[in-house]
């Protein structure tokens, strides 16, 4: 078997420890996990089994029966609830199944079941917040059969069950978007990183039309005044300004960046745009 070239090996050696996490990374994720894993039991066979029964029953249109089983059996065990840790992504507030049972008259339950059915169908059609937290929930649909043999592959069905379990536990797929179900759902106070990233990607793609890019940046800035990607925003703004001929304004931002983050990789592109090659 051919070995790597000397240059390639030197490059790998040079970068050897550059992908390592810091102690702070390790502690931060551990803290986030503490917040997101709220039950000590790693797995509940009963709940997984129940989920399978629910899904099967839903597929033959007997969700009413499934709802009764859920209400009867769920309170017997604490659900494992997976949520995003604070600051990672907005989390839909939970509405335990027990609350559905609180009103407890059969007619009330039956009123709720069509709503639950609609939400579960919606959840099946598109990824929910819960599924976003458990990305494998939809992976098994797209993965090849070879992947199904992977030692990690069993987690796909597990996570599918997990996501469904969260849907069960919450009773809603995405309450934040369902004002009638959870009118007091808290709105995120700051933008999710994904949203910020998407906004900046759009602005960057619009750079051939600097005015458009600047308008997108203004909208992003208004929406996410304390966004985490300030440097990236400034870089794109400076590039847009300089390419549209507003060199003084662009260079002013470049100077700010040089002061705030002289080692930012974005600076080289800003410099080459605002100062020429």
């Amino acid at each position: 078997m051919s070995e790597l070239s000397r240059e390639a090996r030197a490059l790998l050696d040079l970068s050897a420890d550059q992908h390592d996490p810091t102690a702070a990374d390790k502690a931060r994720v551990r803290e986030a996990l503490r917040a997101c894993i709220s039950a000590p039991s790693p797995r509940s066979g009963v709940s997984a089994h129940l989920t399978k029964i629910l899904v099967a029953l839903m597929s033959v249109g007997t969700l009413l029966v499934a709802g009764r089983i859920a209400v009867r059996t769920m309170p017997a065990e604490p659900p494992v609830v997976v949520e995003r840790a604070p600051g990672m992504a907005p989390v839909a507030p939970r509405e335990p199944v027990e609350r559905i049972a609180e009103g407890s008259s059969q007619s009330r339950l039956e009123e709720r079941v069509p709503v639950l059915e609609r939400k579960m169908r919606r959840a099946a059609r598109k990824p929910t917040r819960a599924m976003a937290a458990a990305p494998h929930a939809n992976a098994d649909v797209e993965e090849s059969s070879a992947a199904a043999q992977s030692p990690a592959s069993s987690m796909t069905s597990e996570l599918g069950a997990q996501a469904e379990h969260v849907v069960e536990s919450t009773g809603v797929a995405s309450p934040a978007r369902e004002g009638s179900v959870a009118p007091s759902a808290p709105r995120p106070t700051s933008c999710a990183l994904d949203d910020e990233l998407q906004s900046l990607t759009q602005a960057r793609r619009a750079l051939p039309k600097p005015a458009r890019a600047l308008a997108l940046l203004r909208a992003y800035e208004a929406r996410c005044p304390s966004g985490a990607l300030v440097l990236e925003r400034k870089a794109i703004e400076a590039i847009a300004l300089c390419t549209s001929g507003r060199l003084a304004e662009g260079r002013k931002i470049r100077a700010q960046m040089e002061e705030e983050a002289p080692n930012s990789p974005s600076l080289s592109k800003v410099r080459s745009t605002c100062d020429g090659p």
């Binding site: 070239s5 992908h19 997990q162 990607l229």
Partner: protein, 167 residues
């Protein structure tokens, strides 16, 4: 194995694998969290047929794969600071360690995903071929074949950069 011990023993491996399999810095916390949520949920079923290392590496590979898929679905490109980084490499000898990492990341992004998985696990993580076969559930010959192709592609990409840098 209790969860804390598993976390302490395998966090670094999971983090590095996610990074090297293309999860951007902005999503690395979420992805690491996903890996260990799975570890937490599945730990009761972990029977020790594979080592903790290969088990967690397999989970990280799958999580990274899902992040790439999500990124494709959303039409997102590389995260901003990586996408507007000056792509022209300096001479390798002068490259700082961070620049070397950026170059390695760029080259890994150019590799076929299956070759990349084997290359990352063997060349960078130091797993043996049988361990990688276990992680990816492929036979040993497939591992060696992907490693050979991955090395060849990596070498070619380095050579292109060296010649550009020297030009």
């Amino acid at each position: 194995v209790d969860f804390d011990a598993a976390y302490q023993a395998s966090f670094d491996l999971a983090w590095r694998t996610l990074r090297r399999m293309g999860v951007p810095q902005s999503q690395i916390d979420d992805a690491s969290q996903d890996v260990f949520v799975i570890v937490h949920r599945r730990l009761g079923d972990f029977e020790g047929r594979s080592t903790l290392k290969t088990w967690v590496a397999g989970i990280a590979i799958r999580v990274a794969s899902d992040y790439r898929r999500k990124k494709r679905r959303r039409g997102m490109e590389m995260e901003i600071d990586e996408s507007i980084i000056d792509p022209r490499p300096g001479p390798l000898e002068q490259a700082s360690r961070a620049e070397a990492r950026a170059i390695v990341d760029q080259i890994l992004d150019e590799l076929d995903v299956k070759q990349r998985e084997v290359f990352v696990l063997m060349e960078l993580e130091g797993l043996s071929a049988p361990e990688v076969a276990d992680v990816l559930s492929v036979n040993l010959n497939t591992v060696y074949s992907r490693l050979r192709l991955g090395r060849r592609a990596f070498d070619a990409a380095v050579a292109r950069r060296v010649s550009k840098g020297g030009a």
